[in-house]
Structures are given as C-alpha cells and as structure tokens.
C-alpha cells in the first residue's frame, strides 16, 4: 500500500520535487567536500550554510501551506513554533559548550553565570542529552500548537480573528523571551555553540551533514504533506477550507481536523527551527517577531498556496531575492518585499506554481477542445 502511494498516489510535480531536493541534498555537500576549492563546480561552505537555511525556511513554508493552503487557517504566528524548536535545539547546544564558555562554568551557560544564577533552572535539565532535546523539539511546538488549536478551533475562532490571535501569541512569546529572568538568554539569545553530537558546529563536514539533513527534512515533510493532502483526511481539510459550515453540518468534527493539522504543522515548523539554529549559529527572541511570521506567509503566497511544491519554490525564491537585495541594494529590500506582498495578492493570487499549473491546464483544455469540430466536417 505504501508502494502504491509512493508510485501512483503522488503528483508528478511532487515526485519531481522530491527527486530534485534529494539530488541537491547529496550533490551540494559532495561538491563542497570532494571538489578542491579551485574547481569550477566547488561550492563554498558559506553557500552550503545559506542553502541549508533556505531548506529550513522551505520546511516552515510547507508547514504553513499545509494549514493555510489546504485548511484555510492563516497563521501569523508560525514563526513561534519555528523559534521554539530552535530554542530547544539551542538549549542542547548550550549545554554542549560545557566548561569551554567564557566563564568556564561546567554546568551553567555563560549568560546564567553573568546573571549570577547559582543553579540550572529545572526546565534546562535533561537538555544535555540529544535524545531528550530532540524529543522537546517535537513536543514543545507540538504541544503549544495542540493546546492553542484545541481552544481556538473548538470555540470556532476563524478567519482574521484567528490570524490576529496567532499574531498576539507570537508577540507575547517575543516579549517573554526578551526577559532575562525567563532563563533563555534575554535579547542576546543563545549563541557561541561548539559541538553538536560530538562534531564541531563550524566544521565543513558538519555543515554538509546539516545541509543534507535539512534537505531530507524538506523531502520528508513534502512526502508527509502530500500524503495528508491526498488522503481522505486531506479531502476533508479542503472541504473545511472551502465551506466550513457545510462540512460541519455534514457531520465532520471540524475542530478535530483543524487541531490535528495545526499540530502536525507546528511540529514540522519546530523541526525546521531545530535544524536552522546549528546552521545559523544563534537563536534570539527576534525570531518570534510577528514580522518574521508574516514574511513566511508571503513565501507561500509567492510560490502558490495550496500547492506543496509552490511553498518550497516560494521560500527559496523570496529568500534568494532577500540575500541578493540585502547585499546589492540594502535600502530597497523592504520596498521589494512590500511590493511583493501587494503585487502577489493583486495579480498572482495563485502564486508562481499555481499560475503555471493554471496556464498548463488551460492549454490542455484548449488542445482537447480544439480537434472536436474537425470530425464534424
């Protein structure tokens, strides 16, 4: 049955995307590690890290597309799940520093020594083990998404109201994580990482492995999302998106469906954040900024919401643009980004991938319709 799903159940687009992502995931690290620096096809390590960052953004976009594109839940707070996953990973990485910190305290991270704390807060316990940290990467964002979704969807908070309270959620977390007494490093966040599962974070080999894992995560998320969308569960999600009341009247428990998909999406975002942090080397409260979450929404909108490959295309395209703009014309980046929001909503409501698919569908329809008059002669 799994084989059937893998080979027949998937769209051609998804299969192509999976192949491309996995190919990139293998080829880029290979070009970085195996080819000498002078080689024309050599990929420098900073590019590997940059692409790895894009890959985690792509996963975040996929997670967002799953709830927005297929269930009509516009979350303006997905950055919160991403950042929570990142913090869980960051806490593990902080504990790995051990006595190599500036103050050389074997147990306490530097910022706690600086704040004159005497012992580790209870919620930092266990983060010295990778397994526990990995569990938290899944559990913390997942639990928050579940609890938030449970309350919001059961009381039928929909549309813009939901968008606004998701924004309030991430804003509240932003303020909370800025506080020094929260024990997450205040506005400096967590940084200066040394090791991840025994490998130095800065090393090219580790970077390449992280990049491969990020690509693997995108591929796995894509597969999972495609599976969800194709299943009966996914059909109900689309029904909820298009006519929520009607779906409810038919007898589906709308709130349960929404909560489940929201939780899955939160977990995916958290995983993306966990891979983001070791590659970028820092996690601080600004990741919770509402602006970041809305930026993720525009990735999905540019790529095409309701198309899974579109989310990936959009995330990579917009961030590529951002990297280029902030390097070449820094003061114009916000004009470009703002313009993108306006232009996409006005002229490209289906995004790049959606529009291409539409054009192709029209052409096929025209080709199918055109020969008909001929036999009548």
């Amino acid at each position: 049955m799994i084989g059937h799903f893998l080979f027949r159940g998937l769209d051609r687009g998804v299969v192509v995307a999976l192949t491309v992502i996995l190919a990139i995931g293998v080829l880029v690290p290979a070009a970085n590690l195996l080819l000498p620096p002078g080689h024309p096809l050599h990929v420098p390590t900073y590019l590997v890290t940059l692409f790895g960052k894009y890959a985690t953004y792509a996963t975040l976009a996929l997670a967002l597309d799953l709830v927005w594109g297929y269930c009509g839940i516009l979350s303006l707070g997905h950055g919160a799940f991403f950042a929570l996953g990142g913090y869980a990973m960051g806490m593990y990485l902080m504990r790995q520093i051990g006595s190599r910190g500036v103050y050389g305290n074997p147990l306490l991270p530097d910022f706690m020594v600086f704040l004159n704390w005497k012992e580790l807060p209870w919620y930092w316990l266990g983060f010295d083990r990778f397994g526990f940290a990995a569990l938290m990467v899944v559990l913390v964002p997942g639990l928050l998404a579940f609890v938030f979704g449970w309350f919001a969807f059961r009381s039928r908070v929909t549309g813009v109201y939901l968008s606004i309270i998701t924004q309030a959620l991430t804003y509240a977390l932003l303020l909370a994580f800025f506080r020094n007494d929260m024990g997450f490093g205040g506005n400096n966040g967590l940084t200066d990482f040394k090791d991840i599962v025994g490998f130095p974070v800065q090393a090219a080999g580790t970077r390449a492995a992280l990049f491969f894992l990020s690509c693997l995560l995108v591929a796995a998320s894509l597969l999972l999302a495609a599976g969800i969308v194709k299943s009966k569960f996914g059909k109900v999600l689309i029904a909820i998106r298009d006519a929520e009341s009607r779906t409810r009247f038919i007898g589906y428990r709308v709130a349960t469906y929404k909560t489940v998909v929201f939780t899955v999406s939160g977990v995916l975002a958290g995983l993306a954040g966990a891979l983001y942090v070791p590659q970028v080397g820092i996690i601080n409260p600004s990741e919770f900024a509402p602006a970041n979450s809305i930026e993720a929404v525009i990735w999905v909108a540019v790529g095409g919401r309701g198309t899974l490959t579109g989310a990936i295309v959009g995330a990579v395209a917009v961030n590529w643009g951002k990297t280029w703009f902030t390097g070449a014309l820094p003061e114009f980046w916000l004009f470009a980004l703002g313009g993108l929001f306006v232009v996409v909503t006005l002229f490209l409501p289906k995004g790049i991938v959606g529009t291409i698919a539409e054009i192709r569908a029209k052409r096929t329809a025209a080709a199918a319709a055109a020969p008909k008059p001929a036999p009548a002669e």
Partner: protein, 533 residues
C-alpha cells in the same frame, strides 16, 4: 542643652522683633561689629543675630563663616568674604580692591559651630525661597534633629504657605515623637500629626520607635501607621487607575481609526500603524517649518499639525483604498497581506526621506509641566491626551451619527446593495470611510508624537495593541472600542506593580487570547444578520 535654649529664646525674641520692626531688624551692622570683635561669645551672638535678621546676605555670611572664608580687617573692623577672585564686602557683596593687608579669619570653636548649625537650619527654614523651606522641613523630618525644635516652632509661627506649614508641623511632630523626655500626650498628638503627612517615610518613622517607648505612644503610632498605609494603598490604586486611563486613552487614540476601517468596514489594515506614523512625521515637519520660519507660532504647532496630519494620512488612505483595497473586498486575508506589504513600503519610504533615527518633536508650553493631586503628579501632556482622545472619540461618533456622510457610511456598511439602489455612490463612500479612518490615525499620530519616539517604527508598536483593543471591544462597535481601550489600559497598569511591565503586557495578551476563545466576537458583539456578512 542650655545653649540651645538660650539660642532659641534669642531667636524667638529676634523673630518677634523682626515681625514688629522689619526695617530695624534688617540692619546687620551690629552683628558685623560683633563678628569683628574677635571673641567666641560675640561671634556666637552675631550668628544668632544674623539668623534672625532676615537680611538677604545673612545666609551667605553664615555659610562663609562655616567654610572659614569670613575675614575681618583688624584695622578698620570691616568684615569681608573671601571668594575665588578676591574679597567682597560682607554686608553689600561689593568687591573690595585693593585687598587690605591686615585681614585675619573670624575664628570658630565648638560653641560657635553649634550656633552656626542651628543658624543654617533656621536660615533655610526661613529662606525666602519656598522650595528651600520645604526641603529643609523634609530634611528635619528625616533627621529628627532635636536641636532644630525651637527653630521649627519659630518657622511654623511665621510660615504663610499652608503646604510648607504642614511639612514643618510634620517635622516638629517627628522631633517630639522621638524625644524620650516629651510627655506621652504630646507624643501621641505628634503621632497624629505625622499621620497627616501620610507617606512611606511617615510609616517608617512611626514603626521605628524604640521598644522602651511607653505602650500608649507605641499604640498610637501603630494606629497612625496603619491609617497611613490604608491611605497609601488608596492613593496607589488611584494612581494605577489614573495611569491606566492615560494608557487607555493612548490605546484608544491608536485604535479608534482602526475601529472604523476594521470594525465598520471589515478591512484588515495592517498599515494602520503607519498612518499614525505619518501623522507624527507631519507634526515633525510642521514644527521644523515653524522653528525656522516663525518661531512665535510654536505653541500653535500642534493645532496646525492636526488638520494637516488628517489630510496627509487620510489622503494616503484614500489612495490606498482606490488603488489596492477595492480590488480585495471580500478577501480579508489577502487584504491583510497587501496592507502589510504597504506598511513595509511606507516605513522604508519614511526611513529613506527622514532617516532611521528618532526625530525630535517638541511640546508646546501648555503641555509641559505637571499638576499634583495629593501625592500624585500628572503631566499636562498626559492629561491633554486623555482629553484629546475623548474629544476625537466623541467627534467621530457625532460624524457617524449626525452627518449625512456618516449616514451614508453606515448605510453602505449595513446593506451595500440597498444603499446603492437608493442612489448612494458606494465606491465613493468606501474611499471616504477608509480615508476617515486613516485620517483619524494621522490625528492620533500628532498626539502620540508627544509621548513616543517619532521613528519609522512608531506604527509597528501600536498595530498589535490596536487590533487587540478593537477585537476585545467588539468589531463594529465604537463604544466597545472605548470600553476595550480603557479596560486594557487600566488592567495593564494594575498588573504592572505585581508582575512588572513586560510580564503585565504578556498577561494581558494571554488574557485577550483566552477571552476571544470565550467570546469570539468581542465584548459588545453585533447581533443578528449582520454578524456573518
């Protein structure tokens, strides 16, 4: 301490003289002659004379003597002050040149020093400057200097200003209360007088009595301390409520335009904060022009900026509505994204034109300074913003309820098709309504420029709060916005003492998130058919 008593008697006598014969008492030549006599007894007497003289130079001379800068000419018996640049005549302050050769300092011993300390206290307690008198009274209240009692009594008799008199009496009561040889009755009375003072220092003093104090006095002090604490709690609640109303009025100003665009029209305008920012920058530009062209008009700058800010923000609003939002009616989530993009563009545009730094916006003279209610001090700026917010709110209600344009706006939002059939140009009304909401945001910007940093990020700090207020109050209901803003403001300020400013804000956000679960349509929800439209 007999010396003190004697001094006090002398002081009292001199004060009586001072009241009776001001012209005569102002004469300090006798005191100066005693200073030049080069005997400790005469010097001490001279200090007492000076303290009671009320002469404008008395404090300067006493201070100079304390610092060892007072000298006299053995030959001419003239008393002079040594300053950084030379010597001046003690009585007149006129410079003396050339400096006489036979100068020697006026010597002091412990007896003179005691007299000096009392004289300094008396001179500040009776200083012509009311602020100094009050400061001196508070200093005595805190030091409980037993020696100051006679001076205090003299000062109380003379004091005309009611507040300073109260401060002096509290200081006197503090001295008596802590004086073991005073009678119990006097000390109980003193506890009562200290209760009048009613602040944290009073509580500390009342609680600090040593354990060998008679029980009756201690009980009286304890009762008084409890009463003061009750008063203080009341005042602190009043302060929280007042600051809460102030914060609420800021929220109201920021949210009121949104109550029109989001509440009445249903447009999610994420660029609302930028309309506020445009208003603030309009104020800045107006003030800059006034400063360079006609500085005399500065007090009018806000009044001039108000209509301009309304026009600028309103104009930009109409432009946005005509070029972007009208294509997105019925698609609220798309509107949200497009207006967010607009807000980024507007921020960057302002940053490009005016720079990323904070801009200085001055306060006109009627908005600076503060007024006091009991122990509370409220700045005029805050007070004006409360008044202004309410005025804008009422003005908006009037526009919507009493003008033809308002009637058309309400008609279009309630039933677009019917309004159109009645001959109302609905697209025109849409643009007008959106422009009105944005224009009011611009007006809010003028007021907020007085209390916030005018920077390109000004709007962003208000946008989430504004949405919270509108959603909390209930969409489509202006009164809900008023109640929502004031409630959130007051709740925030009452949480702050317990939770701190940031945590208080987080708690309010969480509270609103939970509240929306319970009442998804806000405090004052619209009922009936319009709800799902």
């Amino acid at each position: 301490m007999p010396i003190i008593r004697r001094l006090a008697r002398a002081l009292g006598l001199i004060l009586v003289l001072f009241y009776a014969l001001p012209a005569a008492a102002q004469d300090i030549s006798g005191a100066l002659a005693k200073l030049a006599a080069d005997s400790y007894a005469d010097t001490a007497a001279a200090v007492v004379d000076l303290a009671g003289s009320g002469h404008p130079r008395a404090a300067v001379i006493v201070a100079a003597l304390q610092d060892g800068r007072l000298e006299f000419d053995r030959a001419s018996k003239a008393v002079v002050l040594r300053t950084a640049s030379g010597v001046v005549d003690a009585a007149t302050g006129a410079a003396i040149a050339p400096v006489p050769g036979s100068l020697s300092p006026v010597r002091v011993n412990n007896r003179v020093r005691t007299a000096l300390a009392a004289a300094m206290g008396a001179l500040t307690l009776m200083s012509p400057d009311p602020a100094k008198r009050r400061e001196a009274a508070d200093a005595v209240f805190k030091s409980r200097d037993q020696a100051a009692l006679p001076t205090l009594e003299a000062a109380i008799a003379k004091e005309a200003d009611g507040r300073i008199r109260a401060a002096l009496q509290a200081a006197r009561a503090a001295v008596i209360l802590t004086r073991p040889d005073a009678s119990d009755d006097a000390r109980v009375d003193a506890a009562g007088s200290i209760r009048e003072r009613g602040d944290q220092d009073a509580v500390a003093l009342l609680r600090s009595l040593p354990s060998d104090t008679p029980k009756r006095v201690r009980d009286a002090a304890e009762t008084a301390a409890k009463a003061v604490e009750t008063d203080l709690a009341l005042w602190s609640s009043a302060q929280n409520a007042l600051y809460g109303v102030s914060l609420g009025s800021v929220l109201l100003l920021a949210a009121i335009g949104l109550a029109i665009t989001f509440g009445v029209m249903g447009i999610i305008n994420m660029a609302h904060g930028e309309m506020v920012m445009l208003g603030a920058y309009t104020t800045f530009v107006v003030q800059e022009l006034i400063r360079t062209r006609m500085p005399g008009l500065f007090d009018w700058s806000l009044a001039i900026a108000l209509p301009l800010a309304f026009l600028v923000s309103g104009g930009v609003g109409v432009l946005i509505e005509r070029t972007i939002i009208r294509f997105l009616y019925g698609r609220p989530l798309e509107t949200l994204l497009a207006t967010w993009g607009l807000s980024l563009i507007l921020q960057q545009a302002v940053r490009t034109v005016f720079g990323a730094n904070n801009r200085e916006v001055g306060a006109p003279s009627f908005m600076s300074g503060s007024i006091e209610f009991g122990p509370l001090a409220i700045t005029w700026g805050r007070l004006w913003i409360v008044v202004f917010a309410l005025a804008v709110f009422l003005g908006l209600i009037l526009v919507l309820k009493k003008t033809p344009a308002g009637l058309q706006m309400r008609a279009v939002t309630q039933n677009r098709a019917m309004a159109s059939a009645m001959g109302i140009r609905t697209p025109f009304v849409d643009a007008l309504t959106f422009g009105l909401g944005c224009g009011i945001a611009g007006i809010a910007g003028v007021a907020l420029s007085q209390i916030d940093n005018v920077s390109p990020n000004l709007g962003q700090s208000y946008i989430i709060d504004s949405f919270m207020v509108v959603v909390f109050g209930g969409v489509g209901n202006l009164w809900g916005t008023l109640v929502g803003a004031l409630t959130l403001g007051v709740v925030n300020k009452f949480l702050e003492p317990f939770a701190g400013a940031v945590l208080g804000k987080i708690l309010v956000l969480v509270f609103i998130i939970l509240f929306i679960q319970k009442r998804p349509r806000g405090l004052f929800a619209l009922k009936g058919r319009a709800v799902d439209a």
